[in-house]
Symmetry: C2
Subunit: 320 residues, 2 copies
């Protein structure tokens, strides 16, 4: 272990080097001047030019890191994060922060007791349209909110069979991104009043879902989630107010008010996340908001489930 000066960058080890780690975390860590990618741990292979380890334990024991970014499937996120905290590392969690609410609670207590930073990220909250949407909504009288979150699971999660297993959340894996935005931009807390799940006959988690929420101020939010969307992909939140209409689309990267596009800075969700993580570590804080995950759990509590056609993904056969 080398000695660190206070102004040094935060040395990050990535645990779980799959699609999200390669697509988002590697460039974000490299692009953020306050973080450095110092190691990668994954039994299936590492990154050329970066110390790579076949196991988490090896990385925790041998790598020169301050923090672990947990990019594994959610079912093992808890055990990975606990091991990292036990090794004295700060922890950043991809979304969702685990497979259950109980796990998140246990991690929070563990990090607090150890004096380490735990950051449960919600990347969609860092989309460039989110804060302008929140500002527009504040103080307005809303009539209705409609969420449409429809994507092709074969395209965005090729071969990721874990997503339909217990704890994988099915279509709520992307849907929770919409819920993370909703709970940021709407002023009143939400509760689920109705949910219909459509679950393939050969899977455990839903491939599509309709969820109705009531906000504490009376506004009704209807969400239509679908993982079977071929052709154009839709990640949109449509907010109708007494005096106008806001549409947040492309997952929060685009914003229109009363039909006119609003100019936004370029998308930099993960860059923001790593800057925030460095801030949290520097100031000795944690940031864990389980609210979006709680709404997913509530949808599961309220769900009526319909069985639909089996789902097959040719990419699954070739994956570990």
């Amino acid at each position: 272990m080398t000695t660190r000066a206070p102004g040094d960058t935060l040395r990050i080890g990535i645990a779980g080097f799959g699609k999200i780690a390669r697509d988002q975390h590697v460039p974000a860590i490299a692009g953020c001047e306050r973080t450095t990618l110092a190691a990668v741990a994954d039994p299936a292979g590492g990154l050329d030019g970066t110390p790579s380890f076949a196991s988490l334990d090896d990385m925790l024991r041998e790598a020169d890191i301050d923090a672990v970014a947990v990019c594994t499937p959610p079912q093992i996120r808890h055990d990975v994060a606990l091991a990292a905290l036990a090794a004295g590392k700060h922890v950043l969690l991809e979304k969702p922060p685990g497979a259950t609410l109980g796990e998140v609670d246990i991690l929070s207590r563990t990090a607090e007791r150890a004096g380490l930073t735990l950051f449960a990220t919600w990347h969609s909250r860092h989309a460039p349209g989110v804060e302008p949407a929140r500002a527009w909504i504040a103080g307005r009288k809303l009539r209705a909110v409609r969420v449409t979150w429809k994507e092709d699971v074969r395209r965005w999660h090729p071969g990721q069979a874990w997503i339909f297993e217990p704890g994988g959340l099915g279509v709520f894996d992307p849907g929770i991104n919409a819920f993370s935005i909703l709970t940021r931009i709407l002023p009143a807390p939400l509760r689920v009043t109705e949910a219909t799940f459509r679950t393939p006959e050969n899977r455990t988690a839903p491939i599509a879902a309709d969820v109705r929420f009531a906000a504490a101020d009376g506004v009704v939010v209807d969400a239509a989630l679908d993982f079977r969307q071929e052709g154009p992909q839709t990640w949109e939140i449509d907010v109708e107010a007494d005096d106008g209409r806001l549409v947040l689309s492309a997952g929060g990267a685009e914003l229109a008010i009363d039909g006119g596009a609003i100019s936004l800075p370029p998308e930099g969700e993960y860059a923001d996340i790593y800057t925030r993580f460095a801030d949290l570590v520097a100031t000795g804080q944690s940031d864990v908001d389980p609210t979006p995950f709680g709404l997913v759990a509530d949808a599961f509590l309220m769900a009526r489930t319909e069985t639909v056609d089996a789902f097959h993904d040719p990419a699954e056969a070739g994956k570990r």
Copy 2:
């Protein structure tokens, strides 16, 4: 409205005058010297000798009450409690405290903002064996915990079709009692690691479930819940420690340590609850612990569901 002196008893109005209200709340309120039953609201009928109202709104407007005990089915508990808080009444919630976690959060915020007491009760935590069990467990090294919670739904919930509807929790309606005890007597927080649900082909909520928990200290807890238990009924928690064994049975009313029965005071769960409620109101506090409900939500998140035979209850035909 009459004027109250500070030493007066707490005047309670019961909302939802069904089985649990008649069996438990009425005698407990009458038996507690700090509470008085002042009104009952239920469209299906009231109580001779007590001001009875066909609607909640009528009771809130006309009855001379300080607080509302919400004994409706859980699906409408939230709306009833919100209306009571809006009318300036303290609120006691039967378990579970609602249909979703989001509801509980909204009620907590609302009560706090209004300066009113909200008490989310867990009656099983007041069973006489619970605190002695907690004391025995404290500091011991546990090997395993097994929960067996098996009862006949036709006997304990005759005609209560709501229990198998979304938000009714199915076998978790009694099972959450076990979880409320577990989370009181075990020192470490729990998380759900596996769940298997058995759901009748003509119902939404499970009629039986196996749930495995891991405690943060490594202890594994296995719970077997079944609503189809004819003959002897079982509500038991079996705790195996390195140096002995504790069995809490009859829902917490009986306790045996190393095979020897421990003498306990008589069961007085609801009497305790109303004394505690009067204390909370007198000291301006609330008591809302969503942990047992969170574990149920986590079981729903992790569930693999098997479809089982249709469930029929002859008593349903005669109920509203």
